[in-house]
């Protein structure tokens, strides 16, 4: 079996520009690990054990800020619930793939991979597989390197810059980019408001109450609109 080099090259060159928006995330994750005081290897291991920036950043920053472990895990997993939609949408093209690839590929099904490969769903199976592997490997290698770079830069950055504020700022950017209708904006405000009200709950568990309230509000509004 020979690998089509043109497809490999296309997978790599398509992945590179999509990685650029992920660079600040990777660096901030590295910085947040240093800031949180958790051991650097455990913090960085999320880069390959989880391989999902928002979830890793949620876990690291919550654990570092004294949240209960179970609350941090739950929040990180809830952040990742969107992957269920990717998984369902990608199921049809994967039914024509060998078992080893069906087991391996979901590990790399990050936001960018979904955006890139869902439009290749009708390609010939071997082309799809080669493209997916090339793009996935590119994202994976760059992610490991840039989170490690953030980790290395962490101790160099002066404390008084308060770079930990970059974490809520990045989440704000993600939030705004994801809002395409007013019901989502209301869900976000409800999530923020309820978390604020329950700020006194121990170990930041108010976050979970806020998240659930936001989802419930969005769900109810959507139902009323129909």
């Amino acid at each position: 079996m020979s690998v089509d080099r043109a497809i490999v090259r296309r997978g790599i060159t398509d992945a590179l520009p999509l990685f650029v928006p992920a660079v600040p995330f990777a660096l901030v994750i590295g910085l947040a690990i240093v800031e949180s005081g958790i051991d650097p290897f455990s913090g960085w291991s999320g880069s390959w054990l989880i391989f999902a920036g928002a979830a890793q950043l949620t876990l690291v920053s919550l654990l570092g800020s004294g949240a209960a472990v179970i609350a941090a895990i739950t929040a990180a997993l809830v952040v990742n619930a969107r992957h269920l939609m990717y998984s369902a949408a990608m199921a049809p093209p994967f039914q024509r793939q060998p078992a080893w690839f069906r087991w391996l590929a979901p590990y790399a099904l990050i936001d960018q991979m979904f955006a890139l490969t869902i439009i290749e769903a009708d390609s010939e199976p071997e082309t799809f597989r080669t493209y997916y592997l090339a793009a996935g490997a590119t994202f994976w290698i760059l992610w490991q390197l840039t989170t490690a770079l953030g980790l290395a830069l962490g101790p160099v950055v002066p404390q008084e810059w308060n770079l930990e504020f970059a974490v809520p700022l990045l989440f704000m950017g993600l939030l705004v980019l994801g809002i395409d209708k007013w019901t989502k904006a209301v869900a976000a405000l409800a999530g923020a408001g309820v978390t604020y009200v329950f700020a006194g709950l121990p170990s930041r568990t108010g976050l979970l109450v806020g998240a659930l309230a936001g989802i419930a509000v969005g769900f109810a509004l959507e139902r009323m609109r129909r």
Binding site: G43, L62, V69, L84, A88, A188, V194, T195
Partner: protein, 102 residues
């Protein structure tokens, strides 16, 4: 050690959410109400997270003028440019300037 274990758990959960339909439920569809709820997960959790990360250890909320100004400008820049790097630069810039002024 607990951090590493927590990371393993989140890693397994993440893999499960990415693989479940590809590996096991290929012929199933996500029920409609679940789809409706899923689209609100990201905004609700992110809104909650932003506030949660600004809560002090003792449970009081540490949101002052610099934080509000920076988050506001950050949101505006994100909306206009859809660029995370500009959002970060503008937001941190406002945060530092306002903090120096107040």
């Amino acid at each position: 050690m607990i951090v590493f274990l927590a990371t393993v758990v989140v890693g397994m959960g993440t893999y499960l959410s990415r693989s479940i339909f590809i590996l096991a439920l290929a012929r199933r569809k996500i029920p409609d109400p679940v789809l409706v709820a899923l689209q609100f997960v990201a905004p609700a959790v992110l809104g909650a997270l932003i506030v949660a990360l600004l809560i002090d250890e003792d449970g009081s909320v540490a949101i002052g003028i610099p934080e509000v100004a920076a988050l506001g400008v950050g949101a505006g820049v994100a909306y206009r440019t859809r660029n995370h790097i500009l959002t970060l630069v503008a937001g941190m810039g406002v945060f530092w300037v306002v903090r120096a002024l107040v």
